[in-house]
């Protein structure tokens, strides 16, 4: 009885605890989002801004095949970069979790964040450009005579995107792998699994939540990226993020920019919901059964 009341009180207090966070989100996320939704249904102002007149023009403009092509390209670039990022981040996270020098590795993963992202992108320009580090080094070694086109194309965009977002994949993967019981791999080997079989049949299914988090943390920012394609991309690298910037600053079509922003938000939201439901179901899968046992009055 007493504990029941305490629980009730705790629940009521819980609302107060979450109030500051709730206010913050309302003012800095929900309100701007509503403004974006509203703007996307209004008429474009002549010099930017909007006129207060309801219209679906922005959405009609969005169906333009050129825009659709950019949308599909963005989806493709984001998906490909995410897959490569996760493939690279998984062994990194595994090695870090098994290493004795975890703190050092964590520091090395985090240190790049101390430098502004634009500066890091410019560093890549210095590395990849036709007179850049890679080309000069290869020429000096006599491997190539002419500079390779390493920059201002799709490949450069994907390379730099992977570089930018791989820490966001490594960190959640590292934390889940660190909690993984490595003896399960020995058990799998003992029972007849080869090394790859033990990884794919035991490790991967047990770190699913970390993989999903890593996918979300890389896919969503890459889907909305605009600086990387702007600075290291070519004509074929234009992405949704670039459309939004151009519609706001150059074409001054704020409703269209809002509509595209909304696309990014919707795609991101779907991703987050997928992440939340799958981690929730995983938790239910592992935990709920224990409650069933309790309900039956202990275990036989």
């Amino acid at each position: 009885m007493n504990s029941h009341m305490q629980e009730k009180r705790g629940r009521r207090l819980g609302i107060t605890y979450s109030a500051p966070m709730g206010l913050w989100l309302t003012f800095f996320f929900l309100v701007p989002l509503c403004i974006i939704i509203l703007y996307s249904f209004l008429k474009k102002g002549l010099y930017g801004g909007v006129e207060w007149e309801f219209t679906l023009t922005a959405y009609r403009q969005m169906l333009n095949p050129n825009f659709m092509r950019v949308f599909l390209r963005t989806l493709w670039v984001a998906a490909l970069s995410t897959v490569i990022t996760i493939t690279l981040a998984l062994p990194c996270g595994y090695a870090m979790a098994r290493s004795r020098h975890q703190v050092m590795w964590l520091a090395l993963v985090i240190i790049p964040f101390w430098t502004n992202s634009l500066i890091r992108i410019y560093a890549w320009i210095a590395i990849l450009s036709s007179e850049g580090f890679v080309n000069e080094a290869l020429k000096a070694l006599g491997v190539i005579g002419e500079s390779l086109p390493l920059i201002y194309n799709q490949g450069a965009v994907i390379t730099v995107l992977i570089y930018m977002y791989i820490p966001f994949a490594i960190l959640p993967l590292f934390t889940t792998i660190d909690k993984f019981d490595f003896q399960l791999l020995e058990a799998a080997r003992d029972l007849g699994a080869s090394k790859p079989e033990s990884i794919f049949k035991v490790l991967i299914p047990n770190i699913r939540s970390g993989i999903i988090t890593a996918v979300i943390f890389t896919f969503i920012p890459i889907f909305g990226a605009y600086t990387v394609p702007l600075l290291v991309g070519g004509k074929d690298s234009y992405m949704i993020g670039n459309i939004i910037v151009d519609q706001v600053t150059k074409t001054r079509n704020w409703p269209l920019a809002s509509a595209f922003s909304l696309v990014i938000t919707v795609v991101s939201t779907i991703g987050v919901i997928w992440m939340m439901t799958s981690t929730a179901s995983e938790r239910a899968r592992l935990k709920a059964p224990a409650q069933v046992v309790d309900a039956n009055g202990g275990i036989s």
């Binding site: 019981d181 003896q183 020995e186 058990a187 029972l191 049949k201 035991v202 059964p289 036989s300």
Partner: protein
Amino acid sequence: MGKRLKGFDVTVKDVSRAYGNFKALDDVSIEIRKGEFFSLLGPSGCGKTTLLRIIAGFDSPDNGVVLLDGKDILPLPPDKRQVNTVFQSYALFPHLSVYENVAFPLRLRKVPAGKLDAKVRDYLHLVQLDNHMDKKPSMLSGGQKQRVAIARALINEPSVLLLDEPLSALDAKLRQNLLVELDHLHDQIGITFIYVTHDQSEALSVSDRIAVMNQGKVLQIGTPYEIYESPATDFVARFIGETNLFPAVVKQCDPYEDYYMTTLDIPALGTEIKVTDYDNLAVGQHVSFTVRPEKLKITGHQPTRVGKDINLFRGIVEEPIYSGFQSKYYVSLENGTVIKVIQQHANYMDEGPDIDWKDQVFVSWSAEDGYIVEVVDS
């Protein structure tokens, strides 16, 4: 399940393994026979788990060989060895059901569905988990998890089953039950069991033979009876069961029937005692003398007739410990040395044990009940 599998013998020869400066295994040699229930017994850090991991293939020795059925298995990876392991923490796959955990090795070998199903059910029945096969490991109790681990390890039909402290996470009552089940299972299946434990009572109760290990070395290999009654070293005597152990010097050694009646000078007891031994020991030799507490007799009154091969001491009870079926007394002898005595309560006691705290008592044992453990120098 009337299944009988084929057990292999395991030969461990001159195996050493060091981690930096720490010698986990120091030139260990053990021969384990076909179908034997063999225990590796020792305190934590004695190297028993390292040896098990070497046999399983998770660790490799710096030198030495491990033969399974006469064939060197050290070059083989763990998945190619005909041994399976029951892990201390069970190591059940949390993402798979009980059924799928047990089916795991068969699915790897792509066993056809019908055969797989029959076999999995067969082994789940063997460990009495028929009604739990759809549950996830997190839904099971410790004892049930242990059974799943055993079924999963047996389904590959290994020749040797390695058990790494499989019962240490369970409570005492359940441990006893599972130990008996394990023993039955061993008799039923007939493969070789290698059982690692730090619990001497576990090892004594189920093993055919035991290797007692300490600091990376094998101190003694023998049947439970041999290890308990004639320990090879001071350490074995102290580690297996309880004992009274004193350094002694041989005073006299005379032939007596088909053995020798030895007189030992024991400074800790302040006197000489008699003990029978099979060896003719040289006078002046330093040895260790041991007598188990349950072999001592304790009485409140002075025995009237004392045979010449009876050792008798007078003392004060410092600490009586009553535990139902027996009492243990710490008796302080006249020179201050404390000796442990265990008295079995075979008969009904109306008013409790007749020996109490601070009582004067007489402790005695026959020369035949003592044992000379170790010749300290030669």
